[in-house]
Subunit: 592 residues, 2 copies
Amino acid sequence: MNPLIDDRLAELLFRSLRLGDLADLPAFADHDPETFRLYVDACRKVGRQVLWPTYPTTDAEPPTLQDGRVTLHPETLRGFEHVRELGVIAATRPEAVGGQQLPLAVATLAHAYLMAGNLSTAGLAWLTTGAAHLIEAFGEDALKATFLAPMMSGRWTGTMALTEPHAGSSLGDLTTSATDAGDGSYRIRGAKIFISGGDHDASENVVHLVLARIEGAPDGVKGISLFAVPQRRPAAFGPNAADGPLEPNDVHVAGLIHKIGWRALPSLALSFGDEDDCRGWLIGAPHRGLPQMFQMMNEARIGVGVTAAATASVAYHEALAYARDRTQGRALGAKGGDQVAIIEHPDVRRMLLRMKAIVDGSLALSVATARFSDLAANGPEAERDRAHAILDLLTPITKSFPAEFGYEANVLAVQIHGGYGYSSEYVPEALLRDQKLNSIHEGTTQIQALDLLGRKVVAGGGAALRALNETIEAAIADARKASVDEAIIAPLEAALGEVGKLTMELGMKGAGGDLDGMLGHGVDYLTLFSIVVIAWQHLCLATTARSEDSDFHRGLVQSARYWAATELPRVALLAERCRVDRSYLELDPSWL
Amino acid sequence: MNPLIDDRLAELLFRSLRLGDLADLPAFADHDPETFRLYVDACRKVGRQVLWPTYPTTDAEPPTLQDGRVTLHPETLRGFEHVRELGVIAATRPEAVGGQQLPLAVATLAHAYLMAGNLSTAGLAWLTTGAAHLIEAFGEDALKATFLAPMMSGRWTGTMALTEPHAGSSLGDLTTSATDAGDGSYRIRGAKIFISGGDHDASENVVHLVLARIEGAPDGVKGISLFAVPQRRPAAFGPNAADGPLEPNDVHVAGLIHKIGWRALPSLALSFGDEDDCRGWLIGAPHRGLPQMFQMMNEARIGVGVTAAATASVAYHEALAYARDRTQGRALGAKGGDQVAIIEHPDVRRMLLRMKAIVDGSLALSVATARFSDLAANGPEAERDRAHAILDLLTPITKSFPAEFGYEANVLAVQIHGGYGYSSEYVPEALLRDQKLNSIHEGTTQIQALDLLGRKVVAGGGAALRALNETIEAAIADARKASVDEAIIAPLEAALGEVGKLTMELGMKGAGGDLDGMLGHGVDYLTLFSIVVIAWQHLCLATTARSEDSDFHRGLVQSARYWAATELPRVALLAERCRVDRSYLELDPSWL
């Protein structure tokens, strides 16, 4: 049976990131390390025992659209009930709104098991968390009183309705309109696309968090406002709205998109206000929709990161079990004898070690970034700014590294399965399809690259980068003290220096007006930065596990060595590319 | 409309590889450059106008299995009729067996259009070519008289039935048995899996080329024999067998494999001799099955290479058209104004240029390798050995580079399409699924790596590598004479030297008994070798196009520059990894 996530790694992350210490912060005072662990245990159990067995079936039999309504697979409904009961949606929210007030780091680690078990089912809860959190953060009391309780419990679910057919990455170009109805609501009109969970039968109502433009609003991103647009609107607002009658709110399913992965979670084209009777309620101040949305974006992007890590992890464990079980061929140079398990072949071990290094690094980074989010929001006052700066810097990396490198891990899982991997009788191909979304949704990898290099590293005169540098240098000092293998430490130190130097040079290009020269290699910059950050994560794991004499520990050290020997040398090479190559900057589109 | 393959590139390859000159060889004396071009034109037309329009439908509606028989999509049947009529199956075979006696290089270029159009439909012909060619090369006259004519015309089709459930890459472990029936035939018993085209309704009969073990044969690869096992056997052998009655030959469909790509071409589990009445006819001498099969393997692997190039090419052209058409966002630093086509964004151009470099390099390499095959078989006597050595060396690279890097190109096509790329309403995801097979079938990438480093470069004391070196050095001299940009030439020269040096070092390790140390990084070696070979191909294209003043030429030069700046620097890095990294060689499987 696939463990989904290695429990030894989860336990090590607990120690390495000192998650238990978070209970000492006032915000988490009602908890202790034991209650953190209990939550992880509960999610692990549901992920493994309830969700994972439903995965193949719900992937193979996607939701159906009939008469404008979407029907989920019965196994998705059953799985979502379990997820709901865990209190996943409000896990990190305060007790005041029905939450468990857990640190995001703990929830992130716990949710890895759920996303690994069945990301479509757990995704319904994840989307609802994001939507509800926006209402909680910016909504007026009447909105909160009406929407929060049913959403936090999962009786109603939520969506993020941002994308329009001609405004995906470019939100400033969206055209959905909002007209003041004079009764506290707005009339919403427009079309949205790729709305995950936009309609289904797992909840009594779906609340769309819609970005729209109030009539007369400024052009571009400065004229976008955020609205709560329920699929069915309550007759009266207030704490018991969900128990009262609900009437249709003129939100219609315009089409079901045939996604290649996350197949059990419907992605829809929706139209709002076809009959001019779609009502939305403004959340927060007018024209503040984008900054509000982005205030939640860190969490959403960490969510993508941990999901990508989870999807790669499941594939790694499938491949590992297969490689131990499947016999084929013999050792190099051997004559005759029985066939050996394919894990005995060096190249199969290469693929497995690469996958492990990617998976462990991705999961560690996701939880580490979530911990900076906890410290930024709830840490000691004096540390918050610093934590926030590091969080901002790590977020685009957490969003993109597990997605991009995780995809490679998923490809390797198919390859290790050989011909069987190419068939849908085996699960790796489905995981591969799932993984591809993570480089696209919640901001493509290209968007993350621009965010990192064009915004995050230059913000505050490079303050975030300095803070991260200090943190990594401290980890290096700890590792040296613990006598960690210098072959792991020294290349990281060198690569870290290279990042600093390159960032300065690229920043200067930008300051000199050469924006293309600065940002044109943004994806290469993101990649090299990610390689360094993951090396740091491996170093932390190796340092913490140092004292253990176990196979698990030896595997971690070997992953760290592999990463140092294989990936860190790429940093200088990618940096040089960022500095000198202009091949595609000087490419005229007509030459293609 | 997707051009599938860039005609300007096809034309340039004609010139760059001097394909027309092949008509001067006695074997191709009935041809001239014009008839070569006519064949390419004819295939282009069928690929574009007949096959490509059928691709989405035949992918979406795969063959069905009912009552033990497989039914293809009607569009596949219609497409196959056109492919048959082109004479594709026997295109390279002699006129004596009904062929057109075209050079493999010309056929490879032409067939790129067909595989690009619909690889499942064209694949039926491709498989038949391989099977018929084996009978032609090794079969006795009676077998040839019976099977060749209907197979070469496509009235009967063929398969390669090698793989068994527990013997995929390790053919020496197959257990299908053959017992002399005393009447010139053998009774065949066994199970085969992943047999593409193993049953269908596009032909009157399917002839399986089956590897099996004659009773009492030696163990391992030295005891494998090759048999022709028709699905239905002719009552009498001879030239008119196909017109006479055919009776069932106890070959049964045991299952239809749900492949993730090439979905219109059924892949089957077959059982032979359930009722002990399956007859097969020995091809060539007993126990010579594997060497015979491998004599055809170069062609099959070049076929995989050009198919992978074609699949990446289609995706490239989809992405290019989309990037020109789709508007989203604005130039870096721009304030306001209309959205621009995404091709204006540097990172989209990066992805497109990378795809182009991979596609052009893959197609050029496939045709170039096929040309060495022509020279090895039909060139001037004095040149044959040398051509054969280079062919042997290039074959594993041609098999694996387009598959592995082509896959990356296919991933980029999905990424460029954004959210739309993640849906099956757009074609890139289907091409991505198709592409993945190419790193698995006809010998995985791992097998190619062992073939290159463990066999090809060390054969004859390194003679092949010396011959290839001289060829590349000659191309470098030509490029210098033509004043090609030194930024393209110098890094290739350096990387070529690195390959020679590394090969010597690894060979020494092997000679010293450290087989793991020599071969453990085989895939890295294969990758770096491939990067150099592709740089050589780009150099040849850039040299030939040098005199042209066209956008197409500028694009080629820019691809070559990109490759030199981005990929060639990886060679030294990968070489160092081959030399020093032992992370996974020293990895105990229990640490994972």
